[in-house]
């Protein structure tokens, strides 16, 4: 598969290597594109999430589940430095992308986000036409070739082309919620990132629109790696290959914080969880 050159820094070249999978319970059958090593996220002095280590497997869907306030969205946003604009937000540990720490000094967050895109909880198309929504990312990324072709390709991949091909100049805000979310996915894949982060992408959608997005995720794994945060366990079980279960804990100083409890293949996590807390959560005894 053709990949974009992975160069996140202003330096001419970065050593790119793919580390082996080290997390427990994970086979080495597929390569990891990202790797979290002891990642903690702080807001000011408050440590919101502590010591997260897990891999993100290439061309697979990795789900992050857990109760509210367990830090799953916080960790997701740490993967493409979307926490940077939040005043006081800080990350410790290493977030490796092809072996390169995304928080290293010479890494440009803008380049990080061009490689690792994000789809948000509430569909958030720009107040522009459908065409311009997709073209925006292409334009700012200076993507060569005919813009029309790229826009069509992205909309087709997002399974939206047939529904919007006759109204590309119409406002994106006139689309239904499910269509808007697929437009946001089209906009994200148009710039050809390697990884797509999805933060509860279906929570504002009806079941039919949700099913369409889930089908789409499966299709997208041909070309992309997907990380999805969801509070819907059935969704995680349906769409993901790997699942990370987070929970909120209270430490000795009575400080509440998020923590990764268990990471494994989705089938195993849901049928035979290693940790009692995971079992309690997935069987509905907690959360």
């Amino acid at each position: 598969m053709a990949r974009n050159e992975t160069d996140l820094s202003t330096r001419p070249s970065v050593a790119v290597h793919t580390p082996g999978v080290t997390a427990s319970g994970v086979g080495t059958d597929s390569a990891s594109v990202m790797q979290l090593r002891d990642v903690s996220v702080y807001y000011g002095n408050y440590e919101a999430v502590r010591g997260t280590s897990m891999p993100i497997q290439q061309n697979q869907v990795t789900a992050m589940i857990g109760p509210s306030g367990c830090g799953k969205s916080t960790v997701l946003r740490a993967l493409n430095r979307m926490n940077d604009p939040i005043p006081g937000a800080r990350v410790s540990g290493e977030v490796l992308f092809h072996g390169q720490d995304l928080y290293a000094k010479d890494v440009d967050p803008i380049q990080v986000r061009r490689q690792i895109g994000m789809v948000f909880q509430k569909p958030n198309p720009f107040p522009k036409s459908i065409y311009d929504n997709v073209a925006y990312g292409l334009r700012i990324n200076g993507i060569k070739g005919r813009l029309d072709d790229h826009v069509e390709e992205a909309l087709t991949k997002a399974a939206l082309w047939d529904e919007v091909k006759d109204k590309l100049r119409k406002s994106a805000l006139a689309l239904s919620g499910g269509q808007q979310q697929r437009l946001c996915i089209a906009r994200t894949i148009a710039v050809k990132p390697q990884v797509i982060l999805m933060d509860e992408p279906c929570s504002a959608l009806d079941p039919i629109a949700t099913a369409k997005i889930e089908d789409l995720m499966f299709e997208l794994t041909n070309d992309y790696t997907i990380v999805i945060v969801t509070h819907n366990m059935q969704q995680a079980a349906r769409v993901s290959h790997y699942t990370a279960f987070f929970t909120a804990e209270v430490d000795d100083q009575q400080v509440r914080h998020g923590r990764l409890v268990e990471f494994s293949q989705t089938g195993k996590l849901f049928t035979n969880p290693a940790d009692k807390r995971t079992e309690d959560y997935i069987t509905g005894r907690f959360g």
Binding site: N80, M82, P85, P87, I110, Q111, R113, R114, G117, M118, F120, K122, N124, P125, F126, P127, K128, S129, I130, Y131, D132, Y136, G137, I140, N141, R169, K170, S171, A172, L173, A174, C184, R187, T188, V191
Partner: protein, 330 residues
């Protein structure tokens, strides 16, 4: 169950309650009334000013707006009242004001909403709002005593450099005084900047975090994020802010009267003295009688009409541009 409704008949339970119905009716009368009041006041202003100005309109006909000569006391013949020179002065000084004020205001507003550290925002906003609190006569005196004289060498230098260039040469013509279109425009720019800044800042701050996040997640730089997410969202509001600023600039009287130079003059030379409609009214009203007074009121009518026309035009532009930018909704 002492709290049970005494009348189990659903029809009476759903019947209109007198209290809330009265409240709603009073509210709707009140809001309708205040809305109509605005229209009535506007209409009355228009009718009475046109009536007061009628002798001048009657004497001059359409020449009132096409004639550039303004001569209330000619040595021979009838007085001539032409508003064109002053309309030109109003337009050109306001245009200069916007040319300087809009980029500065939008820049300040962007800085305050997107870049400035949180603890700097409050004080900066206060300082800018204070600028709006300075009385216009103070700006006028400052312009006539300090800014005008100080700018003469600058104007002279600009004339020396660009005087020979084709188009710029006519814009930056000979300098005779510091009281001219350019000085009036600059003083007006300072006066309208706080208004435009404070409204554009409000508009920018209504851009949803989600829209900005969307742009950033596509790998946008801050500037690309502003262009892609902030501007399309705020275009209409920013134009509204500019229109309010323009309204202030066109209507500004005393500051302009002090610094524009007081000449009846239509010239491309921005360094030449001229006059504006509002300034002429305040300068000459005290010594006017009869048709002369009517002509001055006529200037007010023309100014009023210009302002309304520009506002309507701006709304059309905003609607067109938004339809193009955002895509049609239908």
């Amino acid at each position: 169950m002492t709290l049970t409704n005494k009348s189990p008949d659903p029809r009476s339970a759903l019947a209109q309650r007198g209290r809330s119905a009265l409240g709603d009716r009073v509210f709707s009368w009140w809001t309708l009334g205040t809305g109509l009041l605005v229209l009535a006041i506007l209409g009355l202003i228009l009718i009475t000013t046109v009536r007061e100005a009628w002798p001048a309109f009657d004497a001059m006909g359409f020449r009132f707006i096409t004639e550039r000569v303004w001569d209330p006391n000619p040595a021979t013949g009838d007085a001539i009242f032409g508003a064109l020179s002053f309309a030109y002065g109003t337009a050109i000084s306001s245009l200069i004001a916007l040319l300087f004020a809009v980029p500065v205001s939008v820049g300040i507003a962007l800085f305050l909403t997107e870049l400035a550290p949180r603890r700097l925002r409050g004080p900066a906003v206060t300082v800018i709002d204070l600028l709006a609190a300075v009385p216009s006569v103070v700006f006028g005196l400052w312009g006539i005593l300090v800014v005008g004289p100080a700018l003469v060498p600058v104007y002279q230098w600009i004339h020396d450099v660009f005087g020979g260039v084709p188009v710029l040469g006519s814009l930056f013509g000979p300098v005779t005084t510091g009281r001219n279109f350019m000085t009036a425009g600059l003083i007006l720019a300072i006066m309208v900047t706080p208004i435009i800044t404070s409204i554009t800042r409000e508009v920018f701050s209504t851009v949803p975090r989600a829209d900005k996040d969307a742009a950033l997640a596509l790998g946008a730089t801050r500037w690309e994020m502003i262009r892609g997410a902030v501007f399309p969202h705020s275009f209409g509001g920013v134009v509204g802010a500019v229109m309010l600023g323009l309204g202030r600039a066109m209507g500004e009287t005393i500051a302009v009267a002090l610094v524009i130079g007081g000449a009846t003059n239509i010239t491309a030379n921005l360094f030449a003295p001229g006059n504006s409609m509002a300034a002429v009214i305040v300068q000459q009203f005290g010594e006017s009688t009869g048709t002369f007074t009517a002509a001055l009121i006529g200037l007010g009518v023309v100014l009023f009409a210009m302002t309304v026309l520009i506002n309507v035009l701006a709304q059309v532009i905003v609607r067109r541009a938004e339809a193009r930018m955002k895509g049609s909704v239908a």
